[in-house]
Every structure is written in structure tokens, then in C-alpha cells.
């Protein structure tokens, strides 16, 4: 069982997580522009164009909305660093590693049985309010259509 994913209209819980071995990123630092927060189960899924690689390919589409994309999983910073390097990712991956999955839990996006986050997507507006959220079946990469629709609908 998973807890209920935070719905639109909720203030996005702030967090501060490592993005590199010696750097942290807080959600509140990104106030002023939309944020796409993409929880995914794990680095290194064995397909071409997995969820993170797909977002990487379509960065220009996100940039049209001035949106910041953040990937987040329970993998540690070194794992993220190797994964991001291998896939040539041009956006940050956050390590929700210690305490494990704590941020995922606060967003209602943690899978207790698996010890990973859901494939959960959040579009957060420039004031830090969740405007769209979605949980995809764990085996299904949700793509980016829902995210782009949600970004399009944000008030300017």
C-alpha cells in the first residue's frame, strides 16, 4: 500500500537534499519559477530512453516554460553521479537517501514494500504550490505529456 499522493492546491513540502557529493539543493531556492519534481524508483533501469533520459532529450520543451526539472530517487549521490554521467543528464538528480525516502514519504510517493519511491510527478508553480500530481503504474514510464499540459496551464 502507498500513502496518498499530495494533491493539487497543496503547498509543496520544502526539502534540502544532496545533488552532488558536496552540494545540497532546497526546493525553496527555486521559488519564482515552475518546478517539475519527478520521483522514480531507481537509477539504471535497463532501457533506452528511460524516464530520466527522456526528460533529458526534451529539456528544450521544459525550458520554454522556464521550468526547472528535478529527478529524485532513493539512490545515493555517487550512484546518481555515475548514472547522470552515463546518460549525459543535464538536470539535477536528488538523493533521497538518508533518511531513506523521507521526502518521498512527505509527498505520498513512497512504496513501503519495495523501499523505493513511486513514479510520481509533481508540477509546482512559482509560489511553491503543487498544481498537478500524478502517479504512474510502477512499470510504466509516464512520458512527459502530462507534465507539459500542466506547465501550459500554469497562470503566467
Amino acid at each position: 500500500m502507498t500513502s496518498k499522493v499530495l494533491p493539487p492546491g497543496t503547498q509543496a513540502p520544502d526539502f534540502s537534499l544532496p545533488v552532488t557529493p558536496d552540494q545540497k539543493l532546497s526546493l525553496s531556492e527555486l521559488r519564482g519559477r515552475p518546478v517539475v519534481l519527478a520521483f522514480y524508483p531507481a537509477d539504471w533501469s535497463p532501457v533506452c530512453g528511460d524516464q530520466m533520459a527522456l526528460y533529458n532529450e526534451i529539456m528544450p520543451e521544459f525550458h520554454r516554460f522556464n521550468a526547472e526539472v528535478l529527478g529524485i530517487s532513493v539512490d545515493g549521490v555517487w550512484c546518481h553521479a555515475a548514472f547522470a554521467h552515463d546518460r549525459k543528464l543535464h538536470f539535477p538528480l536528488l538523493a533521497d537517501f538518508e533518511p531513506k525516502g523521507a521526502v518521498a514519504r512527505r509527498y505520498g510517493a513512497y512504496r513501503d514494500a519495495d523501499g523505493t519511491s513511486e513514479r510520481a510527478l509533481f508540477v509546482i508553480d512559482k509560489d511553491g504550490v503543487i498544481r498537478w500530481s500524478y502517479i504512474s503504474p510502477i512499470a510504466v514510464n509516464p512520458g512527459a505529456d502530462g507534465i507539459l499540459d500542466a506547465l501550459e496551464q500554469l497562470p503566467k
Partner: protein, 177 residues
């Protein structure tokens, strides 16, 4: 369930009759090994369903992952200008493991196309907009990796092996009637 936002139209590369009960759309990348594996599956499906299946191929090159994917896609579009799209599409997939710009030139020559003109076309990005158009339509339709298939407009969220796709096509054909 993700839906195809750009209906199959005159701008598409299509095999099979327009009034076929089932239309299969593939968003693919010529350098993606999974698409390489899907290629003979699609051929087998076309053989199995004959005139009951229409197939369209659209470009979804993962440029960051596959350095030759964009050039391959543009090469197929170049061939399309000379009415050789499917010949080139097939040749590229059949030679996927050796993909390079040099190989693309050789494939063009094999089809009686001008390799110099192809080189010029790739340099100038003559078909880059066409490829980008496929790509963004795919993104807005929920393409989530390659290959992504749509069957009568609905994304196929399942394996692309022959049996699974054939089942889904049969189901779509029944619903259609």
C-alpha cells in the same frame, strides 16, 4: 492512458490501406537496439494481418544517447523525398550495428540516391525540422522511450514482442467493428 495527439495523415510514412481497421504507429530511433529488435516484429505483424493493418513510422531520435540517430532519421526523410523511405528505413535497421554517416552514404548509393546530395542535406539540416516535428508530436502524445507504439491512437503500455502486439491488434480490430 496516453493518446496519440497527432493523427496519421498525409505527412506520414505509411504502409497498408487507409481504411484498415487497425493503425499501428511506431515512434522509433534508428540507433536504438530495442527498435532494432522491434523491426522484424513489425514485419511479422504486417505479414500476419495483411490489409487489416496500417503501419506508420515516426521519428523519435534520442540524440543524447545515440550520436547517429538524428542523421539516420534525416537520411530516411531524404530518401522519402525520392520515394524510397521504406527501402531506407529497412536498410538502416538491417545495418543498425554498423551505423555511421559513411554507412548512410553507402546505403543511399545502394538505393540509387546521390550520396553527396545526402551529405549536403545532413549538413544543412534540410530535414531536421521534419524530424523535430515528429519528435515533439511524440512528446505531447506520451512517447516514453523507444520504441513506443500506438494502436488505434492508444499507447501500447506493454511488451513489443510479436504475441503481445498481435493480441493488442486483434483486440483493437474487434473494438473497431
Amino acid at each position: 492512458m496516453a493518446k496519440l495527439r497527432v493523427p496519421v495523415g498525409p505527412g506520414d510514412h505509411v504502409q497498408g490501406p487507409a481504411d484498415a481497421p487497425v493503425t499501428l504507429v511506431e515512434y522509433g530511433d534508428y540507433e536504438c537496439p530495442h527498435c532494432g529488435r522491434a523491426y522484424p516484429m513489425v514485419k511479422a505483424l504486417q505479414k500476419e494481418f495483411g490489409n487489416r493493418l496500417r503501419f506508420a513510422f515516426r521519428n523519435f531520435p534520442l540524440r543524447e544517447l545515440h550520436p547517429h540517430a538524428e542523421a539516420a532519421a534525416e537520411t530516411a526523410e531524404f530518401a522519402a523525398e525520392h520515394k524510397k523511405f521504406w527501402e531506407m528505413h529497412d536498410l538502416i535497421f538491417e545495418n543498425q550495428s554498423a551505423l555511421s554517416e559513411r554507412l548512410l552514404g553507402q546505403l543511399a548509393e545502394r538505393l540509387g540516391l546521390d550520396a553527396n546530395a545526402l551529405r549536403e542535406s545532413l549538413r544543412s539540416g534540410e530535414f531536421s525540422e521534419r524530424v523535430a516535428h515528429d519528435f515533439s508530436g511524440g512528446v505531447r502524445s506520451g512517447v516514453n522511450g523507444t520504441p513506443t507504439f500506438f494502436i488505434n491512437g492508444a499507447r501500447h503500455d506493454n511488451s513489443y514482442d510479436f504475441a503481445t502486439l498481435a493480441d493488442a491488434i486483434k483486440k483493437a480490430a474487434t473494438t473497431h467493428q
